[in-house]
Amino acid sequence: MNTRAPAPPQLQLLLVEPQFVLRRTIVAVAHDLHIARFQEATSVDSAARRLAERPFDGIVIDMFDGIFELMSRLREGAFPSRPDTAIIAMTAITTDEQRDARFLSLGHSSVLRKPFKIAELLQMIQRMGASATGNGCIAAS
C-alpha cells in the first residue's frame, strides 16, 4: 500500500510584470522550487485577458497605471477568480502612500517594494497559499 501523501497542488498564480528578467526569474524559481505555477502577463490588457480565461489562487502584479481599476473589477466578481483573491502588488522604490493606501483598501492585498529579493516574494506567496481557501486548489491551513 502506498502510504506516501500526495504532493500538495501548486498555487496557480497570475504574474503581471513588464520587466523581462524579473518576470522570467520569478516564474522559473517559483516553478523549480515547487512553490507556484504562474501565468504571465505584461500589461493591463493582457492581464485582463488572463483573468477572464480561468481562476487564479493569487495575483502578483506590478502597480502600473490601470491596474487598480482591473483589481477593482476582480473584487466586484468580474472574473472567474474569487473576489477575495489575494493580491501582491510590486511597486517601485519611490513611495506613493496615497496610491499604496488606495490599493490596500481593496483588501486581501499587500505591497512589496522594488527592488526586492526573490526569496521575499516567495515567502509572501507561501503565506498567500497558506490562507487560500478558494478556487478548489489549496486547502486552508
Binding site: V21, L22, R24, T25, V29, L33
Partner: protein, 165 residues
C-alpha cells in the same frame, strides 16, 4: 593552485564559441541586464558573463570590475565549465585549488565564487554567468535557483532566441 583541466571537447567547444562571434564585441543590454540582476539579487559586488577562449577568459558583460579579461590558467570559470551544474567556492582561501590564485591573493581579493556554465546551442559549455564576492558566502536554495534561472536567460541570449517579452 590547480589549473583547470581542459574539457574533452575543447576543440569543438572553442569552435562553437568562435562561431558565435561574441568575443571582443561591445557590451549588449541582453547580457548586461542579466548580470545587473544577478548582482542585485545575490548581493554581490561583481557579476560577469565570462567566455573561455583558448588561453584567456574574456568578459562579455560585467558589473563591479573594469577588468576585461584574465589568463585562463587562473580562471575559476575554467573549472566551472567542466560540469553542467553550478560551481560554487564558498571560501577560496580555504580551497587548495584556489588559495594561492592571484585572483584571490591579489587586488581583486576573490573569496566567494559561484558560476553557472552557459552553453552554445549545441551544448558546448563556452563560459559562465558568475558572481563573485570578497567575503566568504554560502548561497541559499532560492539564490541558487535564481542563478540557475538567470543562466537560462544568458543561454537564450547566446543562441539569439528572440526575447519572449
Amino acid at each position: 593552485m590547480s589549473a583547470a583541466p581542459v574539457p574533452p571537447d575543447e576543440e569543438t567547444r572553442l569552435q562553437a564559441l568562435r562561431d558565435l562571434q561574441l568575443l571582443d564585441t561591445p557590451p549588449e543590454e541582453r547580457f548586461d541586464r542579466v548580470v545587473r540582476f544577478a548582482a542585485e539579487q545575490l548581493d554581490v559586488p561583481i557579476a560577469l558573463v565570462s567566455l573561455l577562449d583558448s588561453d584567456r577568459q574574456w568578459f562579455k558583460s560585467k558589473v563591479g570590475t573594469e577588468v576585461l579579461e584574465t589568463e585562463r590558467s587562473i580562471s575559476f570559470c575554467a573549472h566551472a565549465i567542466m560540469e553542467h551544474e553550478l560551481f560554487v567556492v564558498e571560501d577560496a582561501r580555504l580551497d587548495p585549488r584556489f588559495a594561492d590564485n592571484p585572483l584571490v591573493t591579489g587586488e581583486l581579493g576573490v573569496r566567494f565564487y559561484a558560476g553557472a556554465p552557459v552553453s552554445a546551442k549545441g551544448g558546448e559549455r563556452i563560459g559562465t554567468l558568475c558572481v563573485i564576492d570578497r567575503i566568504p558566502r554560502k548561497l541559499g536554495v532560492v539564490e541558487l535557483a535564481v542563478l540557475d534561472s538567470l543562466r537560462t536567460l544568458v543561454n537564450e541570449a547566446i543562441s539569439g532566441d528572440p526575447d519572449k517579452e
